[in-house]
């Protein structure tokens, strides 16, 4: 059953080929067998089986949705009432959220089954899933390699078929990069498309939740449930939600693909470049036209991001003070000691590094030089994209400079880790939707192709991804040991 896609399993459930309880138990057994990956922080078998039973009832009485009875898993950044929400941090290791994230409520309403909560970099800060308080996640394609981050548990679980699909969040590439490194399909929607309510904030002007799945069709089904205006999220955008599967089968004849020269220059592994060239050749066969473009300000994305994201993080994470919820230090002598030690003991190194950076960038005398300057650069990058997307339908490029790196390889060099986000960060600054789809392998490790579209062009992106997946089967490969 684990070799089937969400779309196929949904059909099986509706035809009563198997029940949701059977399907759920099957996935719970797989999770149990493959604990070594460390992809889950919390597994919720009792809740899952109760939800599966309720789903079978809905399937029997004809009120089922496409997601009813499908075993999914949530990144542990989405608040779940009654189930621990840790955000990968000691700070929230015992946090039982008093409410559900809107995304969680929507999946519950659709009748999806939650298998558990997935491992992630602490507070979504990291590109390797090594900053998690609950330990590193292993890449199913090579257990000595990282799965990427911050949604590393989500990518590893979907890749190893320990969940049919999963949620992720993407602030600087945290859906797309792990999707690429684990060989799955990941979609970061337009900023504001998916509610951030109950999704623990890292950098509020960049954070966006989205689906992580086997195929583009599955991503369309998941996004249908996740997307939509939410009054509880003040940055939610009030734009109607289209039918995401309606455009999947549209022909790509005449599609204009832009290839920014800045994406294919120095720093990109030559084998990855060759794999991407083959993928783009496939698009040519489908009738697409390829146009060389240039976005000169892309090179400034990393510096601008590492000002803006830490600045917003330092503000957002000031709520963790040891008073109202989360970790509190032992025997504080006074209030300052309570704040300082609770935060000092509750946060890990990468989170501290970013809080320090953000606090500095926002402090008196430095605000204009760093934060304001970065916001101006952000506009220039966004205008580069606008100009490019006025001439082409989609921008394509790499997701990562190389395939997955080794566990421990970059942990002592934060700057090297930051530079590995070079192809994904600019998209968050602009707020555009983008996908990573499996495009082949280099030395048995997956390579992702990035598709970047215009604001709210998710239907088009899913169509472009789906057409490629009709003529290739990279998305169907299963890592050895998980067949």
């Amino acid at each position: 059953m684990h070799t089937k896609t969400l779309a196929e399993l949904s059909l099986g459930l509706h035809k009563k080929t198997y029940s949701s309880v059977e399907l759920t138990q099957f996935f719970l057994n797989r999770i149990d067998q493959h604990q070594a990956l460390n992809s889950y922080i919390t597994v919720t078998p009792e809740l899952a089986l109760a939800q599966a039973k309720a789903a079978d009832q809905r399937l029997a009485d004809g009120t089922a949705d496409l997601l009813t009875g499908i075993p999914i898993a949530q990144k542990d950044i989405f608040c779940t009432q009654g189930v621990m929400t840790t955000c990968g941090s000691k700070m929230l290791a015992n946090f039982n959220a008093p409410y559900n994230a809107t995304v969680v409520d929507k999946f519950n309403l659709a009748g999806a089954v939650m298998l558990g909560k997935l491992n992630m970099d602490e507070f979504a800060m990291g590109s390797s899933n090594e900053t998690s308080y609950f330990g590193a996640v292993k890449n199913p394609w090579n257990i000595n390699s990282v799965p990427g981050g911050s949604s590393g548990g989500s990518a590893a679980a979907v890749s190893a078929r320990l969940a049919v699909c999963a949620t992720g969040t993407d602030t600087g590439g945290s859906i797309r990069q792990p999707a690429a490194l684990c060989g799955i399909t990941g979609l970061k929607p337009t900023y504001g498309r998916v509610s951030r309510y109950g999704m623990i904030a890292y950098a509020s002007s960049l954070d966006q939740g989205g689906p992580m799945t086997r195929s583009a069709e599955d991503a369309a089904i998941m996004l249908q449930t996740m997307a939509g205006f939410d009054e509880k999220d003040s940055t939610s955008v009030d734009v109607p939600v289209p039918d995401y599967r309606a455009g999947l089968n549209k022909s790509l004849v005449g599609l204009k693909i832009g290839l920014p020269k800045e994406f294919f220059g120095e720093g990109l592994d030559e084998n990855v470049a060759a794999t991407l060239a083959a993928a783009i050749a496939e698009y040519r066969k489908l009738g697409a036209e390829v146009i060389d473009i240039s976005m000169p300000n892309l090179k400034l994305a990393i510096p601008a991001y590492y000002v803006i994201a830490p600045a917003e993080c330092s503000a957002n994470l000031s709520r963790f003070d040891g008073v109202r919820y989360g970790y509190r230090c032992e025997s504080p002598v006074d209030l300052t000691d309570l704040y300082t030690r609770s935060r000092g003991e509750g946060f890990g190194k990468e989170v501290k590094r970013r809080i320090l950076m953000g606090t500095y960038a926002l402090s008196t005398g430095y605000y204009d030089a760093y934060y304001l300057k970065a916001q101006k650069i952000r506009r220039l990058i966004s205008e580069d994209f606008k100009a490019a997307l006025a001439t082409v339908d989609v921008i394509m490029g790499p997701v990562t400079p190389s395939t997955a790196f080794g566990i421990g390889e970059k942990m002592d060099d934060p700057i090297a880790m930051y530079l590995s986000d070079i192809y994904t960060i600019a998209i968050n600054l602009a707020g555009l939707p983008a996908m990573s789809i499996p495009a082949g392998f280099v030395a048995n490790m997956p390579v992702g192709l990035q598709l970047i579209g215009d604001y709210f062009a998710e239907v088009r992106l899913l169509n472009i991804a789906h057409q490629y997946q009709q003529v290739t089967d990279w998305h169907n490969f299963i890592p050895t040991g998980f067949e």
Binding site: L300, Y325, G326, I355, K373, Q375
Partner: protein, 95 residues
């Protein structure tokens, strides 16, 4: 640009963030590295560029000023480290 151990301690104090003494030098080094990365931003003239705070330049949405939430004090305090009689407890602030 490089930061000293003193700078790091000052920033940590502003953030009310405890950091281990033996880690201060490493943070100073990492933050200096990040600041070096950021100097690249000065390569571009941005004098006439409007800062961008929201990807779609959307303004903060306003809503009618009416009560929409019920009182959840008990649920919220059930997860607090220390409460008594409906109040959050912290070390004594005023002697």
């Amino acid at each position: 640009m490089s930061l000293t151990a003193d700078d790091v301690n000052k920033i940590a104090h502003l953030a009310r963030l405890g950091i281990d003494k033996q880690d201060v030098a490493a943070y100073a080094n990492d933050l200096s590295g990040m600041l070096d990365l950021m100097t690249r931003m000065s390569e571009v003239n941005t004098d006439d560029v409007e800062p961008m705070a929201h990807p779609m330049d959307q303004a903060q949405r306003l809503r009618t000023d009416i009560v929409t939430e019920l009182n959840h004090r008990e649920a919220f305090q059930a997860i607090a480290p220390q409460v008594e009689a409906g109040l959050y407890l912290v070390p004594k602030v005023i002697e």
